[in-house]
């Protein structure tokens, strides 16, 4: 029944030390970031920003523990970058990371585009948007190609209504969900220019750089390994050539182009195996040869 006197409690508060390493181990922050490093090639600025956010959340928790003011930080983000630079992939992982950091309660990702938010007639938009927001509560709402929400050429467009509801929830229920907007760089810039409310409510603008040729090659090998294929040494050489040629062509979309090229190479490998001997070794089944890639129309020109 003894209560420590005021002097004792002051002593305890002022000398309190938070072991950040132990806290880090508790919250298991290291492992999602290590996974990110391992599974995603390149993207240095993105990883840097995620590390910063993780450290910030850790410190926020430590501050809370010693009784310092710890308002919920704003974690709404905008991902900008060219096609195929990994915006959606990172968003998916972001939901898991924020969940493990204890910032969102459930850690699921609701991925939507304009069609899911904006209705087709008057009075349709608000319930639709609210429905999506309710589903995203406790997790991450990922709005792909967010600039389609705003149609400057049509002032009666219902997109504006969806934007207003989104802004309201982003402001008032910051602890309930994290909104991530994604899109191509220039169009996002003009979207933010015409919706200043959005710009100011989003704390983290993360730009996804294009991959260079060596990163694309690592991605190709990683993708192949994930589906238990591998490139033969000759195929690897052809792949390097393929990447440099493909980068010059229009509509190059980074990792997505590489994934498509690999998918087509797998089809050609299957044709080659079927046309060849009646038996195929395990080795042959998982190897993509140079000719499988060389047959691409990229080499035709």
């Amino acid at each position: 029944m003894s209560v420590p006197g005021p002097a004792a409690s002051f002593e305890a508060a002022s000398s309190e030390v938070v072991d950040l390493r132990a806290l880090q181990a508790d919250t298991d922050i290291g492992s999602p970031i290590a996974e990110l490093d391992r599974d995603l090639v390149g993207l240095a600025p993105v990883k840097q920003r995620i590390r910063e956010i993780a450290a910030f959340l850790l410190v926020a928790r430590a501050r809370e523990r010693v009784g310092l003011a710890a308002g919920p930080p704003t974690l709404h983000m905008a991902f900008t970058g060219n096609p195929g630079t990994g915006k959606t992939t990172v968003a998916l992982r972001m939901a898991g990371i924020l969940h493990r950091l204890g910032y969102v309660r459930k850690g699921h990702l609701v991925s939507v585009t304009r069609d899911d938010l904006v209705g087709q007639y008057i009075g349709h938009t608000a319930p639709k948007t609210k429905e999506i927001l309710k589903r995203a509560m406790g997790g991450v709402l990922f709005i792909d190609e967010a600039y389609y929400l705003h149609r400057p050429e049509n002032e009666k467009d219902y997109g504006q209504e969806a934007i207003e509801i989104l802004l309201q929830v982003m402001e008032n229920q910051r602890e309930d969900l994290v909104v991530i907007l994604a899109g191509y760089r220039e169009r996002m810039a003009s979207f933010f220019a015409s919706n200043p409310g959005f710009r100011s409510r989003i704390a983290h603008h993360i730009d996804f750089p294009d991959y260079d040729a060596s990163e694309l090659l690592s991605i190709a090998e990683l993708l192949a390994a994930q589906s238990e294929y591998r490139l033969s040494p000759a195929a690897r050489e052809v792949m390097i050539d393929y990447i440099t040629r493909r980068q010059q062509q229009p509509n190059f979309s980074n990792a997505r182009s590489i994934r498509n090229a690999l998918d087509r190479a797998r089809l050609r490998q299957a044709m080659r195996l079927c046309a060849g001997n009646a038996v195929a070794t395990r080795e042959a089944l998982q190897t993509i040869e140079a000719e499988d890639i060389r047959a691409s129309r990229v080499f035709a020109t």
Binding site: H108, K134, R135, M137, G138, Q173
Partner: protein, 151 residues
């Protein structure tokens, strides 16, 4: 008279935090949660007004709590309940239902006796509030008036 309908109704009224935790439980069981309200609280009145459609595919109670608050705001002095529907084959029914708002004054029920053929008597339960037209039953100034005591 404190109306006791649904789960937890013999306990003190739930706080928002407790309501949120109960909804969280429902969502973990993958039940579809919905919000309903009524000003006719007769025990046999099963079908209350729906506040929006049942919420499927939710993961977190925050979405339901937003609807609960919106419903309370729009219907300040009536009964509001949260129901959780289990769509699993074999159940296909409401598994949990509890009040999340009640009017400030609950006048209670009276027992009506109807003398039928012979010496038969038929009984029925009649909420005092139902003497007022729908929509005016739980206005604060009328909530405590006895039947027949109209101005």
């Amino acid at each position: 008279m404190h109306v006791t309908q649904g789960t937890f109704s013999f306990l003190p009224d739930l706080t928002d935090r407790q309501i949120s935790d109960q909804i969280e439980y429902c969502l973990r069981q993958e039940w579809a949660v919905s919000v309903e309200f009524t000003d006719d609280v007769h025990p046999r009145n099963t079908y209350w007004e729906m506040w929006g459609i049942p919420m499927f595919d939710l993961r977190d109670a925050a979405g339901v709590m937003a609807e609960v608050r919106a419903c309370r705001e729009a219907n300040p002095n009536v009964y509001v309940r949260v129901t959780a529907f289990d769509s699993t084959r074999g159940w296909e029914t409401v598994r949990l239902s509890f009040l999340v708002q009640r009017p400030a004054n609950e006048p209670g029920f009276r027992l009506d006796r109807l003398e039928a053929e012979g010496r038969t008597i038929r009984y029925s339960v009649h909420p005092y509030a139902a003497d007022q037209p729908a929509g005016r039953r739980y206005k604060p100034e009328q909530a405590n008036t006895a039947p027949g005591d109209r101005r």
